[in-house]
Subunit: 294 residues, 2 copies
C-alpha cells in the first residue's frame, strides 16, 4: 500500500479536525488558546490519532466516526510533551524544531496549556457519543484515562525522572517505556476498533500489536537520540545521554537494540494475522516506525 | 436540619471512598502515590463532593450511586490546588495548614501528582457506569471536563495570573471568579442530580443554585483573606493582597462585599423552591458557605 499517501491524507483530516475543535484565539483567555494551538498545531507525526483511525478501519469502521477520540489522544500526547519540557522536568528549549511552549509563553501558561489539553481530551471523547455507542465510549474513556495516569504515562514519567543518574535494571527500563510512551500507543491502537464494535478477539490482537509497536517506537527513539539527524528530530542529538537517561542502547548497545526493534515490528504484524486487507495501514505503520529511523 | 452532623457523615463516606479509590502506596511508582495521597487526604471541607452527593439526594437519588463522580470532583479540585501552589504560579508554601505538595515532594512530582489526579477523575467517572445510565454519565463527563478546562477553571486561573498587579474591571473580576472557582462548584451542584435522573427544570434550578453559591463562596474567600483567622484558613492572611490579586473587597470594600455574599445565598436558596425536603442539605450548605466566614 501507499503508506506515504495514506499518512498525508489522514494527517490532513486530523489537523483539520484539530483546528475546528481547539479553542479559538479570539475567545478569552486568548493567550492560553494561542499557547494551546502553538503546541497542538506544530508539525508532528500525529502517530497516536493516525493509529486510532487505522484501528477503526481495521475492523471496517468509518474513521470519521472516531475523529473526536483521535484528536483526544493527540491532546493527551501534546499535554505530556509540554509538561515534560518544563524546567522542573526535562528543561528542554526545543521541541520539533521550535521553541518549547514555556520558552514562548512562560512556565505558568505552559503548565496550564497542558492542563487545558488534558481536560479537553475527555470533553472531546464524551462528545464522540454522537457517532458511537455510549457503553463502548465509557469503556474507551476508562482505558484512555488509565493509560494516561499513574498506571500509565504519568507513572512512566515519574520512574524516568527517578532513574536519572542511576544504574537502571532491565526491569526498570521496561517499566519506563511500557508506561511513558507505550501505554498511550497501546490504547491508541485499540480504541478506534473498540468504538467501532470490535469483538474480544480483535481487541486482544490489537493489544499485542500496540504493545509491540510501542516498544519498537521507544527503542527507535532511543537510537535516534544517538545516531539521528538533528534537523530531522528537532532537538539536540545526545540529550538523553547528557541527562543520563535510561535507554536501550545504553543497556544493550546499538546493534542489539536495532535487532530488538525489528523483532517487535515482526511480532506486531503477526498479531494482525486474523485481520484482512483493512488492517494494511496498521501493518505499514508498524514497519514505518522503525524504518524511518534505523 | 443538623448540617454539622450531615457534613461529618458525608465527609466520612467520601474520605473512605477516596482511600479505597486512590492508588496504593505499595504499588509503583510509590512516591507518586504518596504525593497524591498527601494532598488528597489532607483535611479539607470536601465541599465539591458533598455538593455532588447532596444534589443527588435533592432529586431522591442514592448518594452511594454517584460516589465515584463525587470523588472525581475532589480529584479535580485538589489537582488545581497542587498546580496553583507551584513556584511558577502562586508560589505558596502552605495549604490547609500543611506544607504544599511541591515543598515536600519537589516540583516535578507535584506537577505530575496533579496530572495524575486529573486523569484519575475521568477514570472514576467512567467507572461510575456501574450504577448510572451511560447517556447521563457521558453528559456529566462533558460538563465536568468543560468546567475544568479553558472554558472553566483553567481559563479562570489564566486570567487571574494575567490580572496580577493590574487594575481589574468588574467584568474581569466576575470572569475570574465565575471560572476559577465558580465553574467547578456549579457543575458539582448539578451533576449528582443529572446522574440520578433529574429533569430539565430541576437541572436549570440547580444551575442557578450553583452559580450563586459559587459567587458567594468566592466573595467569602476574599473576605477571609483579609479578616480571617490564620490558624483556621491554613495559609497566611493577606496573601491575595500581597500578590495584588483581583478581589471583591479591593473593588467594593468589605461591607458591600459581605452584602453581596448574603444576597447570593438568598438567591441560591430561592432557586430550590420547587424542591422538597430532600433539598434541605443543599439549602443548609448555601447558608454555611457564608456563615462560616463572614
Amino acid at each position: 500500500m501507499d503508506l506515504a499517501g495514506y499518512l498525508t491524507d489522514r494527517r490532513a483530516m486530523i489537523e483539520a479536525a484539530l483546528d475546528r475543535l481547539l479553542p479559538a484565539t479570539d475567545r478569552r483567555p486568548e493567550r492560553l488558546h494561542e499557547a494551546v494551538r502553538y503546541s497542538m498545531l506544530a508539525p508532528g507525526k500525529r502517530l497516536r490519532p493516525v493509529l486510532v483511525l487505522a484501528s477503526a478501519e481495521a475492523v471496517g469502521g468509518d474513521p470519521e466516526h472516531v475523529m473526536p477520540t483521535a484528536c483526544a489522544l493527540e491532546c493527551i500526547h501534546v499535554f505530556s510533551l509540554i509538561h515534560d519540557d518544563l524546567p522542573c522536568m526535562d528543561d528542554d528549549d526545543y521541541r520539533r524544531g521550535r521553541l518549547t511552549n514555556h520558552k514562548v509563553y512562560g512556565e505558568a501558561m505552559a503548565m496550564l496549556s497542558g492542563d487545558a489539553l488534558l481536560t479537553l481530551a475527555f470533553e472531546l471523547m464524551a462528545q464522540n457519543r454522537a457517532t458511537v455507542s455510549p457503553d463502548r465510549l465509557l469503556q474507551a474513556i476508562e482505558l484512555v484515562s488509565n493509560a494516561s495516569g499513574t498506571r500509565g504515562m504519568v507513572g512512566g514519567q515519574v520512574v524516568d525522572i527517578e532513574s536519572e543518574d542511576q544504574d537502571v535494571s532491565e526491569e526498570t527500563l521496561d517499566y519506563i517505556h511500557a508506561h511513558k510512551t507505550g501505554a498511550l500507543l497501546r490504547v491508541s491502537s485499540l480504541v478506534g476498533a473498540l468504538l467501532c464494535g470490535a469483538d474480544e478477539g480483535q481487541i486482544e490482537s490489537l493489544k499485542r500489536y500496540g504493545k509491540s509497536i510501542g516498544l519498537a517506537f521507544q527503542i527507535a527513539d532511543d537510537i535516534l537520540d544517538i545516531v539521528g539527524d538533528e534537523s530531522k528530530i528537532g532537538k539536540p542529538v545526545g540529550s538523553d545521554q547528557k541527562q543520563n537517561k535510561a535507554t536501550y542502547p545504553r543497556l544493550y548497545g546499538l546493534d542489539e537494540s536495532r535487532k530488538r526493534a525489528r523483532n517487535e515490528v515482526a511480532t506486531a504484524v503477526a498479531a494482525l494475522d486474523a485481520f484482512g486487507s483493512h488492517a494494511e495501514p496498521l501493518r505499514a505503520i508498524a514497519r514505518y516506525i522503525v524504518e524511518r529511523e534505523l
